[in-house]
C-alpha cells in the first residue's frame, strides 16, 4: 500500500495531496501528528532536513524524512503563513532547523520555546531569505 493511502486511512479528517513526490498535508496544524505517526508506525526514523521556501503568498515547509530500514525518502510538506507547530518533541534534530527558518524566513514555531536567531546577528532587521527582502542588506542601502 502506498504511503499516501496509508496516511489517508489513518487520518480520516485530513486531506493529503501528492505532488512531485511530495505529500502535502492540507491542515498545517496537525503536521506533528502525521510526523509522529510516520516516525513510530512507518519507520521513517530520521528527519534529514527541514527546509522552507518562500512562495510569496505562503511559505512551504518541507520535512525530508528517511527510513533506515526501508531505505526510502519521503518529503512531507505544509504551507504556512508565519506560524507553525514545532516538532522538536518528535525529532529533536529539528531544533536548529526551526531556529534557522525562524531566522531567515520569520516563521514562528509554537512549542519551541528556545527559538532564537541562529545565523544572523540577534539585532538584525528583516528575514533575508524572504522574497520581499531584496538583494541588499539594510546596512548597504
Amino acid at each position: 500500500m502506498s504511503l499516501i493511502h496509508d496516511l489517508s486511512n489513518n487520518f480520516k479528517n485530513l486531506n493529503f495531496i501528492e505532488k512531485n513526490d511530495k505529500i502535502f498535508v492540507e491542515d498545517d496544524t496537525s503536521v506533528s501528528d502525521v510526523l509522529s505517526y510516520l516516525k513510530n508506525q512507518s519507520g521513517f526514523d530520521i528527519l534529514l532536513s527541514l527546509y522552507a521556501t518562500d512562495y510569496i503568498e505562503h511559505i512551504e515547509l518541507n520535512y525530508y524524512l528517511y527510513s533506515t530500514q526501508k531505505e526510502r525518502y519521503q518529503i512531507i510538506s505544509i504551507c504556512v503563513k508565519n506560524k507553525s507547530a514545532s516538532i522538536v518533541d518528535i525529532f529533536p534534530s529539528a531544533y536548529f532547523d526551526e531556529c534557522e527558518i525562524y531566522d531567515l524566513f520569520g516563521v514562528t514555531f509554537i512549542g519551541n520555546d528556545k527559538l532564537k536567531r541562529l545565523l544572523m546577528p540577534e539585532d538584525w532587521n528583516g528575514f533575508p531569505l524572504k522574497k520581499d527582502y531584496g538583494n541588499k542588506s539594510e546596512a548597504v542601502k
Binding site: N20, K22, D45, I46, L47, L48, S49, Y51, T53, D54, N62, Y64, T68, E71, Y73, I75, F91, P92, S93, Y95, F96, L104, R117, L118, L119, M120, P121, P128, L129, N135
Partner: protein
C-alpha cells in the same frame, strides 16, 4: 557548588573555525554548554538567488572547504537531474575518483589535527605529508588546491591527466595508514583519552540526525554511496563500529580511507581501459535555463549526508537553494555529549565529530 561561565571561542585554536561555546563549569566539570554559530555565515543560500546557475558553481566549493568536490557534485547533480542533462560514464568515474581522493585528504587532515588537539604533534606532519601529495595532484589537474571548480554540468571541465600520480598515491597510502595505526591505535595515551568518551547511542544518532562516520561508528550501515548509480559497479565495504565513542569514530575513518583507496584503484583501472568515451556533455552552460521543479540531490560527504535542494521557477537563476550538511547537526548534539565531562574533554569530543564550521554556517 560554584558555577562559573567560560566562553570557549569564537577564536580557539582547536575549533579550527569560529565556534563559540558558552560553557558553565564547576571546577573542571561541565554543567551546561550552548553552541553559538553564525560567525561564518556568508549567505550561500541567498547568494544563489541572484546568480545564474553557472555563476553559482564556483561558490559551492566554499560551503565545505575540505570537501569541495562533494559540494560541486551535489549541486551539479541537482542541476543535471532537473535539466535532464546526461553525464557520460567516463565523467562519472572521474567524479568518483576525485571525490574519493578528496575524502582521503579530508580524513587525513582530520586525523592530523585531531591528534594535535589531543597533544600529539608528530602525526600532524605525517598526515599532511600524504595529504600534500593528493593536493599536488588536484593542483596539477584543476589548478586549485581547495576550491576546485572542476565539475561542470554534464561532466567535468577537462579530461583526467597525471594518472601516474594517483597510482603512486594508491601504492603508498596503505603502508602509510599502517604506519599511522602503529603509532596511534594501540597508543595508551590515545586510548585513555578517547575510549568510552562522547558516546552517541543509536537512538541519539537517529533523533539528532547524525550521519556519516559518526553514525556508522554506532553500528548503522547507512552510506548513500551504496544507493548511488555512480558507485554501481564499484566494490567497497561500508565500515561500521559497535559503539560510537571517540575511539571508534577514529577507527571508522581509518577504515573509510582504506575503502576509498580501493575505490580509487578501481576507477583508475576503468579509466585506463576505456579511453574512447567523452568526459563531458556539451550544453549551453551560460544561458542554462532549467524547467520548473524541485529536486534534492544526495551525496555522502566525509562529514555525513550532504543534500542540495534546488528549486527552479523556469528562469536562468535558482529560485531557492538549500544545503543540508552533516556538521550542522553534529554541532547541535555537542551539549548532550559534553555535559558531565571534564573541560579538557571538550576538544577530544568536539574534534572527533569532525565539524567544519563553514559548512555549519554556510
Amino acid at each position: 557548588m560554584s558555577k562559573m561561565t567560560v566562553n570557549i571561542g569564537p577564536h580557539h585554536p582547536s575549533t579550527h573555525g569560529v565556534l563559540h561555546l558558552v560553557t558553565d563549569v564547576d571546577g573542571e566539570k561541565i554543567l551546561n554548554c550552548e553552541p553559538i554559530i553564525g560567525y561564518l555565515h556568508r549567505g550561500m543560500e541567498k547568494l544563489a538567488e541572484s546568480k545564474t546557475y553557472l555563476k553559482y558553481l564556483p561558490l559551492v566549493d566554499r560551503v565545505d572547504y575540505l570537501g569541495g568536490f562533494f559540494n560541486s557534485f551535489a549541486y551539479c547533480n541537482a542541476v543535471e537531474l532537473l535539466g535532464n542533462i546526461e553525464v557520460p560514464q567516463r565523467a562519472k568515474y572521474i567524479r568518483v575518483l576525485m571525490s574519493e581522493l578528496n575524502r582521503i585528504a579530508s580524513h587525513l587532515l582530520w586525523l592530523g589535527t585531531y591528534l594535535l588537539d589531543l597533544g600529539a604533534v608528530s602525526p600532524y606532519f605525517y598526515t599532511f605529508r600524504e595529504r600534500e601529495q593528493i593536493l599536488r595532484f588536484f593542483e596539477k589537474l584543476t589548478g586549485q588546491r581547495l576550491m576546485y571548480n572542476y565539475f561542470k554540468f554534464g561532466g567535468v571541465r577537462k579530461d583526467i591527466e597525471f594518472i601516474d600520480d594517483v597510482k603512486e598515491i594508491v601504492k603508498i597510502l596503505p603502508d602509510k595508514l599502517n604506519d599511522y595505526e602503529r603509532i596511534i591505535t594501540e597508543n595508551p595515551i590515545f586510548n585513555t583519552r578517547t575510549k568510552g568518551l562522547g558516546i552517541i547511542s543509536k537512538e541519539m544518532a537517529l533523533d539528532y540526525s547524525i550521519t556519516g562516520p559518526n553514525m556508522r561508528a554506532a553500528g548503522f550501515a547507512l552510506d548513500i554511496r551504496k544507493q548511488s548509480e555512480y558507485y554501481e559497479n564499484i566494490e567497497f565495504n561500508v565500515i561500521t563500529g559497535d559503539i560510537s565513542d571517540c575511539y571508534n569514530r577514529y577507527l571508522v575513518r581509518i577504515g573509510e580511507m582504506r575503502e576509498s583507496i580501493k575505490i580509487v584503484a578501481q576507477c583508475i583501472d576503468w579509466l585506463l581501459t576505456d579511453v574512447s568515451s567523452n568526459y563531458s556533455t556539451k550544453i549551453n552552460e551560460i544561458n542554462l535555463k532549467l524547467p520548473e521543479g524541485e529536486i534534492v540531490s544526495k551525496t555522502e560527504s566525509p562529514r555525513g549526508i550532504t543534500l542540495c535542494c534546488l528549486i527552479s521557477n523556469g528562469g536562468n537563476k535558482p529560485y531557492r537553494v538549500k544545503w543540508r550538511t552533516g556538521s550542522f547537526y553534529a554541532v547541535q548534539i555537542l551539549p548532550y555529549l559534553l555535559i558531565g565531562n571534564n573541560l579538557p574533554d571538550i576538544m577530544a569530543i568536539y574534534g572527533s565529530l569532525d565539524v567544519i564550521l563553514p559548512e555549519v554556517d554556510r
